[in-house]
């Protein structure tokens, strides 16, 4: 007996149909994961079920039955009882999804007020109980706090508490952990799983992350361009995905086994939502296309018990070649480091009081050291707020460091004036995180790429145009695109342009700040392939700043793990990732949800990262460390070497 039954749901925005005939059933107590890349219509489906669509969108057809009643036929007042009461919902952005000017307690009791008979002190007690259930310590105090006083993880827990207040039988979670760090994600996923089992509540989980699906789902639906293309029990799906799209999603995932090899990519991009499809929606990007794929939409076909797929191919789609890589292929060019950072500090003063005197400092980067050999990739890994981006900018001297030394090819950078730095800037460049903010919308692609050459005087005037064309081709675009503007390109293409811009001055070092975190998996694979091609051809060294362990596993030669402004463990990739010694590294690796569904035995980290304005005494990690004792509180641990390259800052490391 299904608690939610969606049939042929279609949602329209103007001429576009972001959701076009979605049917799915969720049984009571079940976790159904809706998997898809950005823009496939998965969030829109959820909002359509809740009848919370934005003003421009409307349901164009289909039915939504919840516990036997048709939601789309309910009057608005009836629907309000369902919202929060029958179906709870939590959203992706805990930072913006709570009302900033109301206390946490008020926002919970509002829901209690609507869906329970509890009032006054009883409601307050219940709100505290809910906070306790979602794992918020000291709930009574938190009730009177405002959302901005809570960390991202706590805010998402508050969101869950609000959603639970009306005792819903179904919880819709729209990318509930996407905005959270991986250790916090692990906590929240555990919490959701736990609550679901205890309450017998169904969970409709919307995500783009195969790892999250493997960790959470009973059944999986794969969505592509507004339609479900595959539906299967979790085991069957991860055992053998049936749709060519699903197969490619798996093949595009970076991991250690594919190191040195190429990732499978999905050519082209998702069709726009206003395109009408006579046949299969995936046809333009599929390598198994047959004549019938273009003429008629593929029907649902059962593959195994419970697994069904919308594809003409008989049986499951063949696995994609390009799997196992060649292993570590990098050679160190020369023995002197290209980049050597010693005791780098970046402090931002905290000004307080009447005269705005500096009363303290945010120690964003607080004494980090690392070295990068030419032609190698060093991954700087850490969670948000650990100072990795600040460190990258300070190395480039985009931010002036407070103390420490940065040497590029043996030349000290920190003491140089902007004018003296300019000739050195051709050697080191940066690729930024957000492909939409990193290109000036008012300049043509040609002007964007030529900017560096112009500023640094490289490339003769006449040759510049030709060089720009060559660069564009080098990053997989066409030379005739120089006259276009950034808005005409997709996120992946923009990131290619940003890479071409950096390459234009022939750098030896590229600092890549989360270059793929804003991209879908299939596009991420394209960019990662491009980066490894460029490294091979141009002997580039990469400082790869990321929080994505899978990407690190795939492409890094060396790894440095950062926690609260300092490097806590560094070494070669196989040392740090294969035999981690610092408890933080261990916990970080264990928190990553794995596609194979395996759970790590390492205990999950509790709590949040402390504020860099007020780091804990001694080892910064001790408040969260399972091994910590009195000695850890006293002094920051010195670096301990395990072998020639593997260094750990932990007195408990063995």
């Amino acid at each position: 007996m299904s608690i939610l039954s969606v049939k042929d749901l279609a949602i329209q925005i103007g001429a576009a149909r972001p959701v076009d005939g979605v049917s799915l059933d969720i049984a009571a107590g079940e976790c159904y994961a809706l998997l898809g890349e950005s823009g496939c219509g998965k969030s829109m489906t959820a909002l359509g079920i809740m009848r919370l669509l934005p003003a421009a969108a409307q349901v164009a057809g289909g039915t939504v039955e919840f516990e036997g009643g048709d939601l789309l036929a309910l009057p608005e007042s009836g629907m309000r009882d369902i919202r929060g009461g029958g179906i709870g919902m939590i959203f992706q952005e805990p930072a913006t999804s709570l009302n900033p000017v109301l206390t946490v307690g008020r926002q919970i009791s509002e829901a209690l007020d609507l869906h329970t008979t509890l009032r006054g002190a009883a409601a307050r007690a219940r709100a505290a109980e809910l906070l306790d259930q979602v794992g918020i310590p000291d709930p009574l105090r938190r009730l009177d706090e405002y959302p901005f006083q809570l960390s991202g993880g706590l805010r998402q827990r508050v969101m869950i508490a609000i959603a639970l207040a009306g005792e819903p039988r179904l919880l819709i979670a729209d990318e509930p952990t996407t905005a959270l760090d991986v250790t916090i994600q692990a906590q929240v996923l555990d919490l959701l799983d736990d609550l679901r089992r205890k309450r017998g509540m169904a969970l409709f989980l919307i995500t783009h992350d195969l790892g999250v699906v493997a960790r959470m789902a009973d059944r999986v639906g794969v969505m592509y361009a507004g339609q479900l293309v595959e539906e299967a029990p979790r085991e069957a799906f991860f055992d053998q995905p049936a749709h060519p799209y699903s197969v490619r999603l798996f093949a595009a995932l970076p991991d250690a086994e594919r190191r040195g090899g190429r990732l499978a990519t999905i050519p082209g991009s998702v069709p726009a939502a206003d395109v009408r499809h006579p046949g299969c929606r995936f046809v333009e990007r599929c390598s198994e296309v047959m004549a019938e794929c273009r003429s008629a939409p593929p029907p649902w076909r059962d593959v195994e018990s419970g697994q069904r797929v919308r594809c003409f191919l008989p049986g499951a789609a063949p696995a994609v070649a390009a799997g196992v890589g060649a292993g570590d292929t990098a050679i160190a060019f020369g023995s002197t480091p290209l980049l050597e950072v010693k005791d780098l500090q970046v402090h931002f003063p905290i000004r307080r009081g009447i005269l705005q005197r500096a009363v303290g400092a945010v120690r964003a980067v607080d004494g980090m050291s690392l070295r990068l050999m030419p032609g190698r990739t060093l991954a700087l890994v850490g969670e948000s707020g650990c100072g990795k981006t600040t460190a990258g900018k300070a190395m480039l001297q985009l931010l002036r460091p407070t103390a420490g030394s940065v040497q590029l090819d043996g030349v000290e950078l920190t003491t140089r004036s902007p004018g003296q730095l300019r000739p050195l800037r051709a050697k080191m460049q940066m690729v930024f995180q957000d492909p939409f903010a990193s290109l000036n919308p008012r300049l043509r692609i040609g002007e964007i790429i030529a900017e560096g050459m112009q500023a640094l005087g490289t490339g003769a005037g006449a040759n510049r145009a030709a060089e720009v064309g060559t660069l564009l081709e080098q990053v997989g675009l066409r030379a005739d695109m120089v006259t276009r503007y950034p808005h005409e390109f997709s996120g992946g293409q923009r990131q290619r342009i940003a890479i071409a811009r950096a390459l234009a001055v022939n750098p030896q070092l590229l600092i890549c700040d989360e270059p793929t975190s804003a991209l879908d998996v299939s596009v991420q694979a394209q960019i990662l392939n491009l980066l490894s091609d460029l490294q091979r051809d141009l002997k580039l060294a990469y400082l790869f700043i990321t929080h994505n362990i899978a990407v690190v596993d795939y492409l890094a030669h060396d790894v440095a793990v950062m926690y609260l402004g300092r490097v806590v463990e560094r070494g070669m990739a196989e040392e740090v990732l294969g035999r981690p010694r610092h408890p933080y590294t261990k916990a970080l690796l264990a928190a990553v949800p794995r596609v194979d569904g395996m759970r790590s035995e390492v205990p999950k980290l509790a709590g949040d990262m402390p504020s860099p304005a007020n780091p804990p005494s001694g080892c910064h990690f001790h408040p969260r460390c399972p091994l910590a004792d009195e000695s850890c509180r006293r002094a920051y641990p010195a670096e301990m070497l395990f072998g020639a390259t593997h260094a750990v800052r932990c007195i408990k490391a063995v």
């Binding site: 460049q429 940066m430 903010a437 990193s438 000036n440 560096g452 500023a455 640094l456 811009r501």
Partner: protein
């Protein structure tokens, strides 16, 4: 008439107006090469209300431009003497409306009237009577019974004429574009809301026909205290309104843009200083600062009569000074806005990418910051316009507006107001001034809204 019957005169405000037009043409050339801006303008062009408003604005601008081509007429040549020119400075609009301008009555007369509004002792009568107008309805002679019929006849002739011209225009466009009328009415070439333009042109042509036909024999909006035709005054006021609405922003923008960007991008003590400057300036209530500045300017002008050759020049200088003062008091808001936007832009990654290449500060401000602020500059330009036109009327009423000899909506209202207490009321000057002002400001507001919607990334999202 000889070949050099006129001597062209370029008043400072004319020059600035032409500079402004040059700037607008230049900017639109730049914008037409920018995809995003062109797309935004295309959105404006698709908006029927915006295009209707633009049509009305265009008519006003046309009148204002005609009124900005100034000249001095040549006096009757004296044999042997060098050509001399009249002291009076007239404009092309004056020449077009010379009938209206010259047919001044003695004092008030109601719209379309044949008699004055005040009784007078006539020379050939012992009783005080309403004297006949010198020009209004003069063609009727003594046959005053025909008055109403004549008005109706002229009105229908005017309307018919307007309709015919409009139909001819539509037919012409149809010929040229080879489109059928229906297509023209809906959406024209390139998605422009041509239909809205034509529909707006119809009432404009009808009104124009009416005014021409009736204006030939009557004072359509009556006459004012000194007998001047109110229609003429209203049309002359348009230029003043347009000048104040546009020149003020033109004067203010360079300062606001420069200081706003500097404060936002450079930061530090430069930011502190600029913020201090605009907080201080904006602390003084606008009207009072303007009043104080205008009073002081009046002192300067009055104590230096030798600076100006003609009274037109002096009035013009005062108009410009008013624009300058208004600009000086209103740049603070825009500067604050631009500073805030610059602060946001400065943190964007494309600016950091430029910094990573060692691109200089000023190059970054010019290449990366300024072009991304242009939409704000444009929005504030069109949004401020209507407010300034309205402000002119208020300031002139307060006595710190344009020179009393400059014809403007403010001066019209100000003089008409004195007669409000009169029984029966003299209402036509006020109604004409408010009516024209309303049309101008409403069109500007509607156009500004469309521009803001099209250019503001937040509202288009």
């Amino acid at each position: 008439m000889t070949a050099f019957a006129i001597q062209s005169v370029l008043l400072w405000s004319d020059a600035l107006l032409f500079v402004l037009i040059g700037v607008i043409v230049g900017l639109s050339l730049w914008a037409s090469r920018q995809d995003a801006l062109r797309a935004a303008w295309a959105r404006v062009a698709k908006d029927g209300v915006a295009m209707a408003a633009a049509t009305v604005l265009a008519v006003f601008v046309l009148i204002g431009l005609l009124d900005s081509l100034h000249y001095r007429a040549r006096l009757e040549p004296q044999p042997g003497a060098p050509a001399r020119y009249a002291v009076e400075v007239n404009s092309a609009l004056d020449a077009l409306l010379s009938d209206l301008r010259q047919r001044a009555e003695k004092t008030y007369s109601a719209p379309l009237a044949t008699h004055l509004y005040a009784k007078e002792a006539l020379a050939d009568s012992t009783q005080r009577e309403f004297p006949r107008l010198k020009f209004g309805g003069a063609h009727l002679g003594d046959n005053l019974d025909n008055h109403e019929f004549d008005v109706a006849l002229r009105a229908s002739r005017g309307l018919a004429g307007g309709l015919v011209v409009w139909l001819l225009l539509v037919a012409l466009v149809r010929r040229v574009n080879g489109l059928d009328l229906k297509a023209v009415m809906e959406v024209g070439a390139g998605g422009t809301a041509t239909g809205a333009i034509f529909i707006t042109l119809l009432p404009i042509f009808l009104l124009l026909g009416l005014a021409i036909s009736l204006g030939g024999g009557y004072h359509v909006f009556g006459t004012d205290k000194v007998g001047q035709d109110v229609l003429y005054l209203s049309l002359k006021s348009i230029r003043t309104g347009l000048l104040i609405g546009t020149l003020t922003t033109l004067v203010m923008l360079p300062v606001a843009v420069l200081l706003g960007i500097l404060a936002g991008y450079v930061g530090g003590w430069v930011d502190d200083l600029i913020q201090y400057l605009y907080t201080t300036l904006s602390s003084i209530p606008g009207v009072l600062l303007i009043a104080a500045a205008v009073l002081m300017m009046q002192v300067v002008i009055d104590t230096h009569p030798d600076w100006f050759a003609t009274s037109a020049e002096r009035a013009d200088a005062r108009l410009l000074a008013l624009c300058l003062i208004l600009g000086m008091t209103s740049w603070t808001g825009v500067a604050r806005l631009l500073r805030g936007e610059t602060l946001k832009l400065r943190e964007l990654e494309f600016v950091q990418a430029a910094q990573a290449f060692g691109v200089g500060r000023f190059a970054i401000m010019r290449r990366h910051i300024l072009p991304n602020l242009m939409h704000i500059v444009l929005i504030s330009l069109v949004m401020d316009f209507s407010g300034l036109v309205l402000a002119e009327a208020v300031l002139s009423y307060v006595g710190v507006g344009v020179d009393p000899s400059t014809i403007s909506f403010g001066t019209m209202i100000n003089t008409a107001r004195m007669e409000l207490a009169r029984e029966p009321m003299v209402w036509w000057s006020l109604v004409a001034a408010f009516g024209f002002m309303f049309a101008l400001v409403l069109a500007a507001n509607l156009f500004a809204d469309a521009v803001r919607d099209a250019f503001d990334p937040r509202s288009s999202a």
